[in-house]
Symmetry: C2
Subunit: 454 residues, 2 copies
């Protein structure tokens, strides 16, 4: 039997029941859905309908819905604010602590503490501890709901404990073994557990070598580690190697997805391609800062060409090839940039090899430049019957491509060494730098060899 | 205790033992490592050292290593060829069928069947079945090593079965329930299983609504589904709804990563940013096809400007703003393109709303165009003291940005409806189209209003 999803007809049926205040039928339809589809249904409702929903669902049921709107974080704030504060606080008590912390982190300090004060003390404590970790660290994405056992437990007593904790823990497939000071001393999987006799001591079957990450580790590093080693969960330890939380694979998928979107956005010079704006004005507001910066960089390029106005006045034909040369410089630079950024992102761009990479890119630039230079020179010669013009454009392409390729690789690598996110050196910026370089080369050569062109 | 990784000193120690043929010490060092680190160590070895390794490791141990070189698929072929064929075949028998199929899919048909014939018949059958599924479908990434049970099993008999199958199955955390015709009829998690009494019937505790995917579903869709619903595994059914395999979360992470890289590569006009070439010639070979195409597109732009040579001869200053206008058109088009491509990738760009998106983008383009147009007109007026030139460039920017934004969103959306991968409409192509549009607008207006410019 295929589960129901929020198909348009089903959706409309639910909305009808909701508005008729037919609580029973609405609830039976609603709970047919997977929490993710419940969240999708919820997000598409208009505000009056959402207000009806808050009357019908318990805070615990609403918590389940709220945990599944991870992709629309920008809506957390306004949704919380339309709920009754007591309802919202109760709901966050029922959420996994890491998800609740995620929701609260979108609010102001004052708002956060006002919610925490009306919450159950225990829940408030775990949430506020998570809020203390810096953004983008392992601490900020970990959960504190995990199963920890002692090495002197038996398989039987562990299974008993699991049966009790299973409903609350985020994962029960890895069990972490701690000593009296809460130091992480071992790990075993549920798979290991079930294949052993009931009387076996945990100490005898646990793995003593445990892969773990520190609370302060970068979330992207943690994500790469989980991906490479195929873990379903990783323990997080503090600076004394005490177990403080775990990170599960679903959080990691979100991190990898965010980081990929982020790199992609920066290459395209948009703040965040994933936060789609249904509104033209707010979309324009997000894109304008980039465009204005690029506009002024473009004015510099115009100024640069202005320096060669005399040359241009003599041979106006030169203007024809400006977009071609600048465009090729931009394209080749973006290619080199993309390769370098991805290398760094996948952790392959180690510092020791920077010069080797640059050298290799210089070689690549020289080869592509030579080929493209010859092609363009021949084309112009055939098309315009002008030998020296073809030679000039060909040589410009050759030198431009070489320089642009090196610049494309060099800038992100250097930024990485200076600990700036290299993806910031986004496509358009490299393109603008390469525009200027290419124009300098092209007009410089044209001015030098003016006699041959006339 | 932190596990060992392939740090340089540790690595060197292993290589020394390997070359001394100190089998015992080498093996004890090697098996300290996680299979992923074993694979990393293996991949960095020179060929003579790898040949030594094949003598020391059993096919089963080597299978474990080979399953972890997923990120370097282009090396499968040459590595297999340097092994003794019988050793390679034995190794693939021990690998998970989906991983073995992945390795073999890099070879020619003849090679594949020669390996399959010397393999154990059972293993060869599962592998060749997987090889029959089309690339990029659920069938091609699923595994056939899963645990299936009957509804009339009890919790106890299921646990007994699990203990037996645990070492071979790729995951035991989801158990799939099938009827006599192998139709998928239910699912339960190991978590559900352990909280119930030993005598409970599976039929009474299984979930009858099972999320599943079809063998022919696109792998990207499957990945999105697993991400959205937070599944650790998804069952794959054939057209008669018979269970044929499962897809685990680790495979899905690889798919998401590949797709993100792919979109990123296309925006940058590189074939594949992730397959890093240490060699300049092969890197150049990969980038040249794109560059040559872009070169000829650039020649069209040159030809277009050539149509306005007379205008240029009269007012050479016009050339100054070519890169600015063309650049802005490129940037704004790439922004709109990136937003549209990501929307489609995340499954949000449904066909019904295409016109709404285009309309919204037109609004965004008009706003950004107006703002940038005013800024540039004022700047030129202050800088050059030329009122009409400023007005001309400002108006060109206004209309160019509007058109370019619409084109940036329109092209990928239309391609998506025509079932072409919209990411192919990569940044540089949109940029070239927008270059031409912008030049037509700019020089067209300049020619029309020539009297005011002189």
């Amino acid at each position: 039997m295929q589960p129901k999803t929020d198909a348009p007809e089903y959706r409309q049926l639910m909305i009808d029941k909701l508005r008729e205040n037919n609580v029973e039928e609405f609830r039976s339809l609603f709970f047919e859905l997977h929490p993710y589809d419940q969240a999708k249904f919820f997000l598409k409702l208009d505000q009056p309908d959402r207000m009806l929903l808050y009357q019908i669902l318990s805070p615990e049921e609403m918590a389940n819905v709220f945990e599944n709107i991870r992709d629309d974080k920008n809506r957390y704030k306004s949704l919380l604010e339309e709920m009754h504060p007591a309802f919202a606080a109760k709901m966050m008590e029922y959420m996994y602590a890491d998800d609740a912390a995620d929701v609260l982190s979108e609010l102001t300090k004052e708002k956060i503490s006002s919610y925490l004060t009306i919450m159950d003390a225990q829940a408030a404590k775990s949430i506020s501890e998570l809020l203390d970790y810096e953004q983008f660290t392992a601490g900020s994405i970990m959960t504190t709901e995990f199963v920890a056992i002692n090495a002197n437990y038996t398989v039987r007593s562990t299974m008993d404990l699991l049966r009790k904790e299973a409903p609350d823990a985020e994962t029960i497939y890895y069990l972490y073994v701690i000593d009296e000071e809460k130091h992480l001393v071992g790990v075993l999987s549920l798979r290991d557990l079930i294949v052993h006799e009931d009387d076996t001591l945990i100490a005898d079957i646990m793995k003593k070598k445990v892969y773990s990450v520190s609370v302060a580790d970068d979330q992207e590093e943690v994500a790469r580690k989980m991906k490479d080693y195929n873990f379903l969960a990783l323990p997080v330890v503090d600076f004394q190697h005490r177990l403080v939380g775990i990170i599960t694979v679903d959080d990691i998928i979100d991190v990898l997805d965010e980081e990929a979107s982020d790199d992609y956005s920066k290459l395209a010079a948009v703040s965040d391609v994933d936060s789609y704006d249904p509104n033209a004005v707010s979309a324009a507001k997000k894109r304008l800062p980039w465009l204005i910066i690029l506009l002024f960089l473009g004015m510099f390029t115009a100024g640069l060409i202005g320096q060669f106005e005399e040359t241009l006045n003599k041979v106006a034909t030169l203007a024809l090839f400006i977009p071609l040369i600048a465009g090729m410089a931009g394209n080749t630079g973006t290619q080199a940039l993309a390769v370098a950024v991805r290398r760094i992102a996948t952790g392959e761009g180690t510092s020791e090899r920077v010069w080797k990479i640059i050298l290799k890119e210089a070689g690549t630039g020289l080869i592509t430049g030579t080929v493209c230079g010859i092609v363009v020179a021949l084309t112009i010669f055939i098309w315009k019957q002008k030998f020296f013009l073809g030679l000039l454009v060909g040589l410009s392409i050759l030198s431009t491509l070489t320089v642009a390729t090196i610049a494309g690789a060099f800038v992100p690598l250097v930024m990485h060494r200076l600990r700036i996110d290299p993806a910031v050196a986004s496509g358009p910026f490299i393109t603008t730098i390469n525009d200027m370089i290419s124009i300098l080369i092209y007009f410089g050569m044209a001015t030098l060899f003016m006699n041959y062109l006339l």
